[in-house]
């Protein structure tokens, strides 16, 4: 299957600052790619580059198997990081204007605008001036502008910022719906839980360099857990220390008989379990704690700093 978007060896510098270094990425149809990275990592530059707002110094960007061009950009919708709408205009006027710029007739743009406003529960705001909307509402109107294009690929920079939990759920569902329709999505966000729930794969960049590019499953699977959840009928706080395993931190869990063991050294699960059984503890359950994406993110960046 042909990727919707592919970047090969893309580089970009601003003066002496290298914003992106030899970056490779792909987005396939029906795939949601989460773009992660600390502030200033180069995420927004990358998204702007995909939209031809910033041009790369080196490397190639292809959309739908063709080098980036204006015609192919007609099939892409973009939500920039810093939101801006015409404050003195009505919501419907702004949406129709942006729709006509995407090549839609005024009638079609108005129809689509009303349809998508309804989908995000904002039908009542159609004739309101933009300046009368709350931050979250403005955010949803901008998302409507992106959805209205009904493109083949979405480029969304921080799509969840400023949304309340209800709106967040709505927007997440809409993005998932687009994936189900075979459309590709590349989104940049700092909300790890959203990425974990919604995305199929992630690309972690830091200081312009791609550190991780893999599926969520693989990224989480590759993370070595360093803590274990234990259900034990005995008091684990009385577990003696073992010189060979090194210090074991023991914390009480939320439920009675639940414990959390965090080894300071490189002890394996097998060794820890054997040691507890050998100490006469009545163990009912023992499982490694699943690493979160946030942990993976932080661990990768920490390792890079070391």
């Amino acid at each position: 299957m042909l990727p919707l978007l592919s970047l090969r060896q893309v580089e970009k510098s601003y003066g002496h600052v290298r914003a992106l270094r030899a970056l490779d990425l792909e987005v396939m149809p029906g795939q949601i790619l989460g773009l992660l990275g600390p502030n200033g990592a180069g995420k927004s530059t990358l998204l702007r580059m995909i939209m031809d707002i910033v041009r790369p110094d080196a490397g190639t960007i292809e959309l739908f198997g063709q080098p980036l061009c204006r015609a192919s950009l007609e099939r892409v919708s973009y939500l920039p990081e810093e939101r801006g709408l015409y404050r003195k205009q009505s919501v419907i006027d702004v949406l129709v204007y942006l729709g006509t710029l995407k090549g839609q007739s005024r009638k079609l743009a108005a129809q689509r605008a009303l349809h998508w406003l309804e989908r995000v529960s904002l039908s009542h705001t159609a004739n309101l001036q933009v300046e009368r909307l709350s931050k979250g509402m403005s955010q949803k109107v901008q998302l409507v502008a992106a959805f209205m294009g009904e493109p083949e690929i979405y480029v969304l920079d921080e799509p969840f910022s400023g949304l309340d939990p209800l709106s967040l759920r709505e927007v997440r569902a809409l993005i998932a719906e687009q994936r189900a329709l075979g459309r590709g999505v590349i989104l940049s966000t700092h909300q790890m839980n959203e990425v974990e729930d919604l995305c199929d794969s992630i690309a972690l960049i830091d200081r312009g360099q791609l550190l991780i590019s893999d599926s969520i499953k693989n990224v989480l699977g590759a993370q070595v857990s360093n803590s274990y959840r234990v259900r034990c009928l005995d008091d684990l706080a009385e577990l003696p220390q073992n010189d060979r395993l090194g210090p074991l931190a023991v914390e009480r869990g939320a439920a009675p008989n639940d414990w959390l063991i965090i080894p300071a050294g490189p002890a394996s699960a097998h060794e820890i379990l054997n040691f507890m059984l050998g100490a006469g503890m009545r163990i009912e359950a023992f499982s490694p704690v699943q690493a979160t994406l946030e942990q993976a993110f932080l661990r990768t960046l920490e390792q890079r700093l070391v």
């Binding site: 939209m51 031809d52 973009y78 204007y97 006509t100 090549g103």
Partner: protein, 417 residues
């Protein structure tokens, strides 16, 4: 380039501007306020002048040397002389406010011609009447000095050697001696000046809207959404067309109101037939859009280099200053409408719309077809260059958003380097 996108941007920009309250107020109410102000101030001024004219024209003559014999007052003269016996009397009358001043002709006047004029301080508004009084007194003295020494005709000629009769000669050689109606002439002169002034105002005003909009779009990053939807040159042209149309509407309303107002004023004051300078308006109508595109594209391009509205306006105002040039050199253009300066201003693309409208409205200017076509050609060429290059530089300027202006990176982004 997609014309539909250019049209979409133009439509949006046009409607955004014409729906603004500030635009409606400036377009409709400003000329009315201005007209009311001009009429009000003018009326008050003329009343003040006429009041002053009635009281400030009596001068006393203290003839100590008996230089003046009997004299008669001219019937239609603005200056009236009264004879007083002593300087003391004259001084008291001046201080009482019944005189504008008094002349003292000393006993030795016939020896050196010296005469003293005494007034209450130096008032510039009295200067004109004082000069007329001096001339009138000189006439009286000449008549007295020449009395019975010359033939009456010669004596009259010596006293008044110049009686000018003005004649006019049209370009076709037909001459006439019709009386010049200063009011109508003033109205004819007022039309080109006001049209040129309004044109300049409309150009600057529209360009200002252009920059405000662009600056705001840059500040809130709407420009990124636009650039993701359309090419920079489509946005650039759309903005120029849309705001140009708004400016043209404003200019048309102003000129219409001006013509109506002047017609009413001329007819109500009985100043005779009022000629509308149609030729200037028609040719000016073609130069206005060209001039707007030229100046507007330059302003938009330089405005795109600023990182906020204020900075954009500061950059762009470089181009507004040449617009006022014909107005600052108005005296030269009016006195020599076919002179080198006026011709240069008509061909110089920054000033040609205003200068040509001015010259074409003047009756004594002979603007040839070659002049009009040449100026139009130069302006057209410059407009084409500025729009083409401007669209290219516009994108580069926008992409430098947030960063300090660097000529090197600017050139790099325009792909000129």
């Amino acid at each position: 380039m997609q014309c539909l996108k250019v049209f979409a941007v133009a439509r949006f920009e046009f409607l955004s501007v014409v729906r603004r309250w500030s635009f409606l107020v400036v377009t409709v109410l400003m000329p009315l306020f201005l007209g009311a102000g001009v009429l009000g101030v003018g009326g008050l001024q003329s009343e003040a002048f006429s009041r002053r004219a009635n009281v400030a024209t009596t001068y006393a003559l203290v003839d100590e040397g008996r230089a003046l014999g009997e004299f008669s007052q001219e019937r239609d003269s603005q200056i009236r002389f009264v004879r007083l016996n002593t300087e003391r009397e004259a001084r008291a009358a001046l201080q009482a406010g019944s005189l504008s001043g008094f002349f003292v002709l000393p006993a030795e006047y016939r020896r050196d011609g010296r005469v003293q004029l005494v007034m209450l301080g130096a008032d510039p508004l009295d200067e004109l009447s004082t000069r007329v009084a001096e001339e009138r007194l000189a006439d009286l003295l000449r008549a007295q000095l020449l009395k019975d020494r010359l033939e009456p005709e010669l004596e009259a000629l010596v006293i008044h050697p110049l009686r000018v009769e003005r004649r006019t000669l049209s370009p076709t050689g037909v001459s006439g001696t019709e009386a010049v109606d200063s009011g109508t002439e003033l109205a004819k002169l007022a039309v080109p000046m006001l049209v040129a002034f309004l044109l300049m105002l409309a150009l600057i005003g529209t360009s200002s809207y252009l920059l405000q909009g662009l600056g705001a779009e840059r500040e809130n990053k709407v420009i990124e959404v636009l650039l993701a939807c359309a090419r920079a040159d489509e946005i650039f042209l759309g903005k120029l067309f849309g705001l140009g149309a708004a400016g043209f509407v404003q200019f048309a309303v102003w000129v219409s109101l001006l013509l109506v107002g002047l017609s009413v004023a001329v007819f109500s004051l009985g100043l005779g037939a009022f000629e509308v300078p149609w030729r200037a308006l028609f040719i000016g109508g073609a130069f206005v859009p060209l001039g707007y595109f030229f100046i507007g594209s330059l302003m938009l391009t330089t405005g795109s280099l600023g990182s906020n509205v204020r900075e954009s306006q500061q950059y762009a105002m470089i181009w507004a200053s040449p617009l006022v040039l014909p107005m600052t050199l108005l005296g030269s253009v009016l006195s020599e409408p076919d002179g080198r300066l006026a011709t240069f201003l008509s061909w110089f693309p920054f000033t040609s719309p205003v200068a040509l409208v001015l010259r074409l409205s003047l009756k004594n200017a002979h603007v040839s077809l070659w002049d009009v076509l040449g100026a139009a050609g130069v302006l057209l060429l410059c407009t084409w260059v500025s729009v083409t290059l401007g669209a290219r530089l516009f994108r580069a300027g926008l992409l430098m958003s947030g960063s300090a202006f660097s000529f090197r990176s600017f050139l790099k982004k325009t792909s000129l380097k």
